[in-house]
Every structure is written in structure tokens, then in C-alpha cells.
Amino acid sequence: MRPRSVRHQPASNDGWVDVVQETSLLTILIFLPALGALGILFAPREMARVIALLTCGVTFVLSLWLIPPFLGAGDPSAAMDIFGSAYGDKLHFLQRIPWIQGERFSIEYFVGLDGLNMPLVVLTTFVTLLACVASWNFHTWKINKSSKAYFILFLMLETGMVGVFVSLDFFLFYIFWEMMLLPMYFLIGVWGGPRKEYAAIKFFLFTLAGSVLMLVALVAMFFYSADAVAERPDLALSYWTGEVLTTGTFDIIELSTNQAIQTKFNDGGTMFLGLRFATTMFMFLFVGFAVKLPSFPVHTWLPDAHVEAPTPVSMILAGVLLKMGGYGFLRLCYPIFPAGGYWWSAFLAALGLVSIIYGALCAMAQTDFKRLVAYSSISHMGYVLLGISVMSQTGFQGAMFQMIAHGISSPMCFFLVGVVYERAHHREINRFGGLWLTMPKYGTMATIGFFASLGLPGLCGFIGEIWVLLGVFEARDRFEWAVPVAIMAAAAVILTAGYVLWLIQRVYLGKEKPEHAGFPEATGREMSILVPLAVLCILFGILPKHLLFDYVNGTLNQIVGTMQDVLAMY
């Protein structure tokens, strides 16, 4: 028989990558919740929450196993290796399986862990577990229809979130990204407050609008990367199999470390529809992530979504979903298009600054408790954007820490709102007062939570903010605008203190209101959510290095290093 034609040279056994499997722990983490969802489908209704809690618990415990390989990363020599050009050996929990293989393309199931996503994965499983505990009294909710569906969607959401964080194939990333939208949409749209449909559709459309541009970038990057390798055959040696790459790639690591691709992408001569490729693609990706972050002009979905969403969903929304924006910047935008980032840096910093101040001012003017917390999230995530925009290691560190810190403090704040809402059935700040007298334990927790959100030193919110500010100021060598921006951002600490303290004063201090006097103290279940979060707020505030920086520094270092290399070329 005649040999069958093989398009790529040299011939290989049906694909470009071998199956690489260090361990399938990540895969288990991704799909265990989905499995739990399946279990709920066939279980009786009363069992739904038990299964959900078990699944979340097991997922969280399993996710703790992700930490040990990073423990040695504290010493500088080891830390440098993670996410390097020789990343194949240094990424942890790698699993790489050819998934959709065509003649001209290869989509892989490619998951792995480095310092960037490990903390976020653990945060995700942790917050989800707590949110699951927060959903435990589902049957007492005003809208408690179909607990099975609720918990199934809940677990599917976790699958999507973990998937987004661990995928290293852009295509896979995109699939998880979209996949996570749907459960969220339903969770808000079905179990939400009075304007739930409006909030849900707003959330959905905003996010979708962002991801459409991301899809364009996805496709463009794939084809341009193919050209890049073709133009520089000498650089086309693939790190992985030693074969020559002649097609484009969706592999994020490849895109961000392959020199030929970097050269091609960031070169001023590479055009896309007559615009410079790097800047255009950066913006396409940016819009998608900025919506999630959310950054100033595209933030209006957040307050609505939060106000309408049930408390556990708010916790996840604030604690995890917002982090995807920042994660996207650090994983995709900057490593792949440093030139784009450089070009847009002033714009991004301005957006970040405006988000910080604008969010704080808006928060100050709110009278709805939850809305206030939602606007404070916008303000806090502005620091992430600002820190990232200066493209320095300090800024990245600060942004990363801010994400984690906000991932701890904002679920706490939202849960604090939820606790009081369950009792009062309204959220009007001005109708509260003296709650600390009514519920002393809860009041103490609220103080910790809101002060962490305020950025009080010694609590988690501070480190991120100050690191970002230092990073921005430090970037003065590169950017003329850095110092004024840093000063204005620093001035925002006053505003933050203003609205948080005013909130505390109106809700927790003052005379006890008679209509709230009968409120029961926070229950054991509620305390079991608040206490771990409070403890983490404190621990992250006083041990930033040992709880976070040790793990992320190496990776961020590498990202900044490659970025600098590319920028140095142009």
C-alpha cells in the first residue's frame, strides 16, 4: 500500500506532543466537583448539600497537596527555575495530553502549576468550601427552589474556576473561561434578589463582550505564532519534543517563552488589520480581563451582580472570579505581549488609579450595605491593575498579593453582609446601628474583616497596597508619570479609611436599635466561616513572605525577566 501522506516533517506518531503526565492531581481537582455534581444529580434532594460539602471539602484538602512542591522555592536559587525557558522540568503537576489534533493544529489538554496559579487554586477551593458552608441553610432562603440544581451549578462553577486557573493551553483556558460563565449566570439569575434577571444578563453580556475579543486574539495568536516559527526556522526547535514547529500553538508557555514567537509578536513591524500586533492583541485580551477585574469603565455589572446574588455566590464572585482578570493579565497579556503592555502602560495605570479613587468615592456614597462592599472591591482591584501596569517585579508582587488578600477579605465582608441580611432582611446602612452591642462576636469579626479591607497594616489588605505603591513609585525610572500616580493612589488610603470607618460607625457603632435588639448572635456555622477568614486576614498580614511571596516570587521574577528581555530588544 502507498504510504499515507504526512503533512508535517518529520513524521511522528500522530501528533506533536507525547502524553506527559506527572500526576493527574490537577485533573482530579478540576473534575472532582463535576463528579460531585453528577452524584447530586442522582442523589435525593436532602443529600445535595451534604454531597456538595463533601466534594468541596475533599477538593480543598486535595488542593493542599499542591503546596509542598513549592515549599523549597523560598531560596533564591530554586525560585529562579520555576516557569523558565526550561519550564518543562519546573512546572509542577504537569499533565499534557493531545486532545484535538488536526493536521494544522493541536489543542491539548495541558494543565500545570507554577507560582502564579497555585495560590489562586488553593484560594478557589478554599473560598468555594466556605461558600458551600454558607449555602448550608439553603432551605431557609427566600428563594430555595431546587437545591439539587443549585448545588450542581455550584460545583460546576468550581470546576470551571479551577480549570481556568490551571490550564496552560489557551484554547482550554478559553473553554473553561466560558464554561464558568453559565453556572454563574444561573446562580445569579435563578437564586438572586428582586432584580436578578437584570443583574444576571448584565453580568453575562459584559463578560461575553469581553471574551469575544479574547477569542479574536486567540485565533490571531495561533496563526501569527505559526508565521513566527516559519520565519525563524533556526529558532523553531521545540522545547518539548525536539521537533520543528511549523504550526501555530495554543500553548501559553510556548507563546510566552519561545523567542521566535516573542520576537514576531512584539516587533513593531508585525501588523494586525493595520495596527501594531502587540498593542492590538494586548488590548483585545485586556478588555476581556478588565471586565472580570473589573476596571473602571466596565465595572457597572459588579455592583448589580453582587447586590442581587445570594451571599455564597457573592463570596465566590468577589473572592475568585474577580481574580481571573488579574490572573489573565499576569498569565497572558504581559508575558506574551510585553511591548503591548509597555505601550498601554500609562493608560492602564490611569484606569487603575481611576478605579481606586472612583470606586472608593462611589462606595462612600452608597446606602446599600452590599453595594458599598461591591464598590470597595472595585477600588481594591484597581490596585491590582495599577501594580501590574508598571511591569516591575514589585508591582507584580503587590498585585498578586492584593488579589489573594482581596480573595480573603472580600468574601468575608460579603458574608458579614449576608449574616446581617439574613436577620434584618434589608441592607440599608442607615437603618442599622449598634450591631456590635447586639452581636459582640459578630461585631469583632466585622471589625477584622472591614479593617483588613481598609488596608490596615498587620492585616492582609495592607501588604498588597503598599507593595503596589512602592512598585509604582519605583517605576519612576521607566515611566514619567509614576510618581504622581503613586502619590494619588496613596492618597486614596484616606478615602478608603473614610468610607470603611463611616460604614462601621453607622452599622456597628452607636446606639442599639430596638428593631435589631433581638438578633441572635452569629451561629456556630457562621463563625466557622468567619473565623478561618479572619485568621487568614491576620496571618497574611504578618507573614507575607512565608504564606505567599515564597511561592510566587520565582514565577514573577521569570515573567518580569522575559518581559525585560523582550522590551530590551525593542
Binding site: 449598634g434 498587620g458 512602592l470 512598585g471 504622581p484 496613596a490 479609611a497 457603632l509 452607636g510
Partner: protein
């Protein structure tokens, strides 16, 4: 890691014991119950105090050991250097490691002792105070919570004192602020208390904004937060002509080009802003009087003795990062505060408010002292003030408690009979703060010495500044003390850093050991500013330092010499370029020295002497032993502090300066400082007329106060009426509250409202536009859109998609055959378009030819 010395362990244990007490109370507070919780806190603080005492005694001995023959350092020096090696790698900023550790030097030890000692007595007082109060706070017991906060305060304040890292110091700084917030708002069910708490926190936050700005500058220029290394680096940058502080370097700040030297000044001012917040200096003073809403022990501990003094402590710590301009700024702020606040105190009728304004004024003195370079004197005043002001506040607390929560002095009077111990101790405090002493005999209470020293230095800065440095050697000169101080000044801003610079150069690189060897730099500052105390001894320092670097015969090699002389040269030129202190500042400070005794005596007289003005209050008045014992203890320590404790301590500091200069290899300074340790008493001899002036002030002021208030309030009221608008101005505290309320609070609220409106309406405008566009579409498809779509563009988008889908669905007949036809037609169109554009190059063909080529190749 060097071996951890006992002192470090003591200090750290002293910090952690209150923390442990905090945790115990937080977790088990309600179960522990009423008296035990309080006593537990007292016990914790007392053990910290015991540790502090052991440290103090031991350290005192270590400082006075002869220098080691090999290293040339005393035991204390060596321990201090070792301590700076025992640092905990706390975080990384970028790639710069941030390490935290215990800053072990004389200043730390003294401050630590002072805080624990005062705190212990105040805690004991609190047990008595709260036993009467806690029940009426509310039905639920907040007793344990009060002590919980106090413990936390103890922890954070002590941590702040021992921190060797500016960033970490800032964290504890804020934690202290938090405690202050919680304690001011302890009776938070009362509106004014929660308002005061919020005001305090936010005002401090304004100061912190400056602090953060300073931190950013420090990190940007010096790349470290370690106090010692920062100072070394600062000195190096400042001395170097290519450094960032040079004129050639500039930053564009809001379109305003700021030179490097200016930036160095701004860095210092930024850091000082933090101190302005905490120590309630001039524009940010508004929170402290309101903070008296907290329980009285809190006012005594936090808002008089320790926390507010932390600002001064911070300035002392960052003194080496201050340029002359920054110091001038500090001096101005201090001068304004001390005068303006003393004037307000004259018209206060609330006993606690009166004391609060007095505190502000005294803090102003300290800051002023720091600003004019009187480092030691300012710290000395800090210590003394802490003792007597704590005592005064506790006395007022006793009065308030005794008088059934009456704080208005106009309703008091004649209380001496009912509460004699309080009255006497209060009088001791009044005398101490007034600078009671007998000139030329060196007999007096604390304030007599410290305030006089500050004034002496100020006078020197104002009148003797442009005397050349060489003249300092002339010990016969009557104002040698003042010169000494100017030497100290130069030392602080440039000379000390020169030492660091030389050190680095001579060793080639900044090794950790070298860097920390210079951790004594601060002490060297101490010496420098102690210089004025020591008169000609200090001028010896200046000269010998000059000689040493000039001849290069010291422990340093040639490199050290070269850089040293260079640096010193720049110091001289620096000094030449700085104008002297304006004379009005000195005079303001001096006049205020007369105001202070007046209002203090007025306060005492109105409260304790004369006839009882409110019989009800008078009948209720009583005092309890648990509360007056601490008063007595503190009163005794005010005496003791003046004569037996703080004098030797200042000597220690000067002695430590000896150590530091040894490390730096400045032999001459070592000799001079040795004489300095024994020669403190001479300071007043160098200031004859100042001593008369200050020492005599209390006599005159007391007399005036006696004249006015001897027959009740009538004379005072008449006087007030005579001054009219001025009195009104003072009674309204210069209208600062109103101004801030209008500018900041209203401004912020307005901005917030604008932003909210923007969010709702501007985006709505956008939405309206989109909606109207959508409406056009809607007309096309025959369906109206809700004309009032105003809530977001995405509503409009949703509606638009509906309408578009209506449009699109009209061909969707549901008939299969039509669909087939559409598909076919579409195919035709596609093919035709492709044919039309390029008949020869459409993909179908290319693809076909590719297949052919490859198959041909295979065949």
C-alpha cells in the same frame, strides 16, 4: 546569625507577653470575668516592665564597660551589632529583602522601660477605674474588651519601639492607631465617642498618607527599610555628588520639576507627616482633644504618654534621614503647635481638654526640639512628659470619677479637702510641666531641665548659627553648649552618614556586618545632639572629627579619608547654605514657656482650691486607693526620673555615642564623649540668662494665675470679655474643625455623590444614546422598544438583540425546503463573489493544486 543576646529575648518577650494576654482575653475574656481579666493584663504588663527593668540595668552596665581591645567596642556596642544580625527575613520587595529585627540601643531600652513602666501603673489604675464604669457602659460586659485592647496596645507600642525596620515600624504604628481608635470609641454607643474615634483614625490616616509617601521615597532612593542601612545609604547618597540627591537628578511631579536635594527634603517631610498625625501636630491636631472621649486611663496612656509620643520617637529614629530643610520644616510645625495649642489651653474649662491641649503644646515642644536639632533634649522631654502627663491625666480621671463624671472645672473647686492625694500629686505634675526649679542650683522637676535645654538649642540656632565651626573648640565661650549643638546638628544631617560612608568605602562593599556596625549611627546622633549638653566637649568632637578625616590617620584607610573629607566638606558647605533659625521661633517658644505654667496653675487652682462651686459635685467627691496609688507612684517617679533615672540614662546615651564613634574610628569624639557622660550638669551654666528666664517663668505665671483665679471665676470671665474676638477664636480652636468639616468631609461627600451620580447618570446617558439607536432598529422591525430604557446600555443591547432576531427570523419559515434554497443561494453567492474577485486565485483551486502536487510527489 549571631547569637541572640538576653536583651533581645527580654525585649521580645516583653513585647509578646501583652500579645499573649490579648489573645487570652480575646478568646476567653467573657469567661475570665470581671476583676481577673484586668489583673491578668496588669500582670502581663508588669512582667514586661520587670523584663524592661532588667534590660535597663544590664544595659546600663554594659554601656559602661571599657572597650574591647581587639574590636574597640564596648559590650553594649557588640550586642547592638549582633542584634542587627539577628533579623528575620520577612518579605521581599522586588528582589530587595526586607528584614525585621530588634533594634537594640540605648534609645530602645529607655523607651521600652518608659512605656512598660507607665503602662503598668495605668493598667492598675484602669482596674480601679473600670470597676466603677463597666456596668454602666451597657448591659453587656465590655470589661474584658477594654483590657483586651489595652493589651493589644501594649504589644503594638512596644513592638514599635523595638522595631529596626521602618516598614514594620509603620505596621505597628498603624496597629497602635487601631488600638487608639478602638479605645477612643470604647463607649461607642455614644455618638460623640464614635465620631471622635473616626476622626482620630482618619486624621491619622492623612498623616499616614505622608508617611507612605515617605516610605516610597525611602525605598526608591535607599532601597532598604532598615533604619541603620537607610541612614548609611542616605549619607552616602547625600555626600556623593552623583547621587540621587544631587541637583542633576530631578523628578517631574505634577509638572513641577523637583531636584534631587528637594526630594531628599520631601522624603524627610513625608516621614514626618506620619509623626504629625500621631503626635497631633499643627494642621492635624484636631483629633487629640476629641480623643478625650475615651476612658481616662486611655487618655493617660495613649493620648498623653506613649502613643502620641511615638511621633517624636519616629522623628528621633529617622533623624538621620532629615535634611536641614526638613528639620527646619519640623521646627516650624513644632513651633506653631506649641504656641497655638498653649493659647487654646488657657480658655478651656473641661479638665481633660485642658490637659489635652497642654499635651499638644508639649508635643510641639518636643517636635520643635527635634527640628532645631536638640535631639537629646527632645527625647528627655518626651520621657519626663510621659511621666507627669500620665499622672496628671490619671489625676483628672480620679477627679472625674470622684465628681460623678463631671468634667467641667467651673463646677469644681475646693476638692483638695476631699481628695488630698490627688490634689498633691496633681500639683506635682503641674510643677513638673511648668519647669519648676531653682536656677543655678540644678534643683528642679523634669520640665525644668528638658524645656530649658530645648530653648537653649533654639537660641543657639537663632543667634549663634553663623559662628564658624572652628570656634567650637573654644570652651571658654559662654555659648559653647549652643555650638556643641550645632555640631550635633551637622553631625546628624551629614556627619554621621559620613561615618557610614567611610566605613563602606574602606571595606570595599556593604557587608551586613559593616552595615550593622554602623547601627550605632543613631547613637552617634545622640552624641551629636547631646553635644550641646556637653559644651566644649562636643566642640572637641567636631574638631577632632574634622582633624581625623583631614589627616587620614584613623582606623580607616585612604579611601575612608578621602570620602570623609569630602563629606565633611559638603557638611560645611551645607551649613553655610542654611539660614539660621528665625528669631521669632525662639521667642515664641520662650513666651509659651510662660503660658504653660499659667494654664496649668489655673487648672489646678480651679479644680482643687477655692470654694466649692457645685455642692452636688463636691459632696460626691471621693478617692479610692486603687486609683491614687498609681498616682503617687508616678509622682515619685517624676522626681526620681528627674534626678536618678533619666539623668544617668541620658548619660548612657552619650556614653553609647562613645561606642558609636569608636566604631567609626573617630578617636577624638570618643575622648570628648567620655567627658560628656559626666558633664551633663554643666549645661545650665552655659545658659545663665535662659536658666533665669525659663526657671523664673513658673514663678511669674503662677502668680498671675493665682491673682486671677484666687476669687473664683469672675476675673477670668472679665478678662475673656476684654479680649473678645481673640478669646472666641481660641474657644473655637481657630475654627479648624469647621474648616476641615467644610473642606474635607463635605468635599469628600460631595465628590462621592458626584461619582455616584456619574455611575448612575453618565453611563445612563450612554445607555440612553444606545437605547435610542436601538429604537430606530425597533421601528424597522415594527416593534417598539420601551422608550424608557434608562438603566444601562446592556438593557438596550438585550432589546436590540431581540429586535435583530425578529428581523432575522422572518426568513425562518420553518419550511425545510426554504432553508435548502437559502443554503444553495448562499453557496452560489459565495462562489460568484470569489469568482468575481479573483478567478484564478481562489482557495478551491489552490487547494486542488496542492493536493495534486503532493500526490504527484508521492507517486
Amino acid at each position: 546569625m549571631a547569637e541572640i543576646s538576653n536583651y533581645e529575648i527580654y525585649l521580645m518577650a516583653g513585647v509578646l507577653i501583652p500579645l499573649a494576654s490579648f489573645f487570652i482575653l480575646m478568646l476567653f475574656g467573657p469567661r475570665i470575668g470581671k476583676p481577673v481579666a484586668g489583673w491578668l493584663t496588669v500582670l502581663a504588663m508588669a512582667s514586661s516592665c520587670a523584663l524592661a527593668t532588667i534590660t535597663l540595668v544590664g544595659w546600663h552596665a554594659d554601656v559602661n564597660t571599657p572597650p574591647d581591645s581587639i574590636t574597640g567596642r564596648t559590650v553594649a556596642q557588640q550586642l547592638s551589632i549582633d542584634a542587627s544580625h539577628n533579623q528575620f527575613h520577612w518579605a521581599d520587595i522586588g528582589s530587595v529583602p526586607i528584614k525585621i529585627g530588634v533594634k537594640l540601643d540605648s534609645l530602645t531600652v529607655i523607651m521600652f522601660f518608659m512605656v512598660t513602666f507607665i503602662a503598668t501603673w495605668i493598667f492598675i489604675f484602669s482596674v480601679g477605674y473600670m470597676s466603677g464604669h463597666s456596668d454602666e457602659v451597657d448591659g453587656k460586659s465590655k470589661y474584658h474588651r477594654f483590657f483586651c485592647y489595652l493589651s493589644l496596645f501594649g504589644f503594638s507600642m512596644l513592638g514599635l519601639v523595638i522595631s529596626s525596620n521602618l516598614l514594620f515600624l509603620f505596621m505597628l504604628w498603624e496597629l497602635v492607631g487601631l488600638c487608639s481608635y478602638l479605645l477612643i470609641g470604647f463607649y461607642f454607643d455614644k455618638k460623640f465617642a464614635s465620631n471622635a474615634a473616626m476622626k482620630a483614625f482618619i486624621t491619622n490616616r492623612v498623616g499616614d498618607f505622608g508617611f507612605i509617601f515617605g516610605l516610597m521615597m525611602v525605598f526608591f532612593f535607599l532601597k532598604t527599610f532598615d533604619l541603620d542601612q537607610a541612614a548609611i545609604e542616605f549619607g552616602r547618597q547625600f555626600a556623593s555628588s552623583t547621587g540621587v540627591f544631587d541637583a542633576g537628578f530631578a523628578i517631574n511631579l505634577f509638572g513641577w520639576h523637583v531636584s534631587g536635594a528637594m526630594l531628599a527634603t520631601m522624603m524627610g517631610i513625608g516621614l514626618f507627616c506620619g509623626a504629625m498625625g500621631k503626635s497631633a501636630q499643627f494642621p492635624l491636631q484636631v483629633w487629640l482633644p476629641d480623643a478625650m472621649a475615651g476612658p481616662t486611663p486611655v487618655s493617660a496612656l495613649i493620648h498623653a504618654a506613649t502613643m502620641v509620643a511615638a511621633g517624636v520617637y519616629l522623628v528621633a529614629r529617622i533623624f538621620r534621614l532629615l535634611t536641614p530643610e526638613a528639620q527646619f520644616f519640623i521646627a516650624v510645625i513644632g513651633c506653631i503647635t506649641l504656641t497655638a495649642m498653649a493659647l487654646i489651653a488657657m480658655v478651656q474649662t473641661d479638665i481633660k481638654k485642658c490637659l489635652a491641649y497642654s499635651t499638644l503644646s508639649q508635643l510641639g515642644y518636643m517636635i520643635f526640639g527635634m527640628g532645631v536639632g536638640a535631639w537629646t533634649a527632645a527625647l528627655f522631654h518626651l520621657m519626663l512628659h510621659a511621666f507627669f502627663k500620665a499622672m496628671l491625666f490619671l489625676g483628672s480621671g480620679q477627679v472625674i470619677e470622684g465628681c460623678h463624671h463631671e468634667q467641667d472645672m467651673r463646677k469644681m473647686g475646693g476638692l483638695m479637702k476631699k481628695m488630698p492625694m490627688t490634689g498633691i500629686t496633681f500639683l506635682v505634675g503641674v510643677l513638673a510641666i511648668s519647669g519648676f526649679g531653682i536656677p543655678l542650683m540644678n534643683v528642679g522637676l523634669g520640665g525644668y531641665f528638658s524645656k530649658d535645654e530645648i530653648l537653649a538649642v533654639a537660641w543657639d540656632r537663632a543667634y549663634m548659627w553663623h559662628e564658624p565651626i572652628e570656634h567650637h573648640g573654644d570652651s571658654g565661650h559662654g555659648d559653647a553648649g549652643g555650638h556643641g549643638d550645632s555640631g550635633g546638628y551637622a553631625d546628624a544631617s551629614g556627619h554621621a552618614d559620613l561615618g557610614g560612608y567611610g566605613e563602606i568605602d574602606s571595606h570595599g562593599s556593604v557587608m551586613p556586618s559593616d552595615a550593622s556596625a554602623s547601627s550605632f549611627m543613631l547613637v552617634s546622633d545622640q552624641h551629636g545632639s547631646t553635644g550641646h549638653d556637653t559644651g566644649h566637649a562636643d566642640s572637641g568632637h567636631a574638631d577632632s572629627g574634622h582633624d581625623d578625616s583631614g589627616h587620614g590617620d584613623s582606623l580607616h584607610g585612604e579611601a575612608g579619608h578621602a570620602s570623609g573629607s569630602h563629606a565633611l566638606g559638603s557638611v560645611e558647605s551645607l551649613k553655610a547654605s542654611i539660614p539660621p533659625l528665625p528669631k521669632w521661633m525662639f521667642w515664641l517658644a520662650l513666651i509659651t514657656a510662660y503660658v504653660t505654667p499659667f494654664y496649668m496653675m489655673r487648672c489646678w487652682w480651679m479644680t482643687f482650691m477655692g470654694k466649692p462651686r457645685d455642692q452636688h459635685v463636691y459632696d460626691h467627691a471621693h478617692e479610692s486607693p486603687l486609683m491614687w496609688v498609681p498616682l503617687v507612684a508616678l509622682a515619685i517617679s517624676t522626681f526620681g526620673a528627674s534626678y536618678f533615672v533619666f539623668r544617668p540614662m541620658i548619660a548612657d546615651a552619650a556614653g553609647a555615642a562613645t561606642d558609636a564613634t569608636l566604631v567609626l574610628g573617630l578617636d577624638g569624639v570618643a575622648e570628648s564623649a567620655e567627658t560628656a557622660s559626666g558633664a551633663l550638669i554643666h549645661v545650665h551654666e552655659a545658659h545663665h540668662w535662659l536658666a533665669y528666664g525659663v526657671g523664673g517663668s513658673w514663678v511669674i505665671a503662677f502668680f498671675v494665675a493665682f491673682l486671677i483665679y484666687r476669687n473664683g471665676l469672675a476675673t477670668g470671665a472679665k478678662l475673656k470679655a476684654a479680649f473678645g474676638p481673640l478669646a472666641t477664636l481660641l474657644e473655637h480652636k481657630y475654627y479648624f474643625d469647621e474648616l476641615y468639616d467644610f473642606l474635607l468631609v463635605r468635599g469628600c461627600r460631595l465628590a462621592a455623590a458626584v461619582c455616584r451620580a456619574f455611575d448612575t447618570y453618565v453611563i445612563d446617558l450612554f445607555a440612553n444614546l444606545s437605547a435610542s439607536i436601538v429604537e430606530r432598529f425597533a421601528v424597522f422591525s415594527g416593534r417598539g422598544v420601551d422608550a424608557h430604557v434608562v438603566d444601562g446600555v446592556f438593557n438596550g443591547l438585550a432589546a436590540a438583540s431581540m429586535d435583530v432576531s425578529d428581523l432575522v427570523r422572518s426568513p425562518q419559515t420553518g419550511r425545510i425546503r426554504n432553508y435548502v434554497l437559502f443554503a444553495a443561494a448562499a453557496a452560489v453567492v459565495v462562489v460568484m463573489v470569489m469568482l468575481y474577485f479573483d478567478g484564478s486565485d481562489y482557495p478551491v483551486v489552490r487547494h486542488a493544486s496542492t493536493i495534486g502536487a503532493s500526490s504527484a510527489g508521492i507517486q
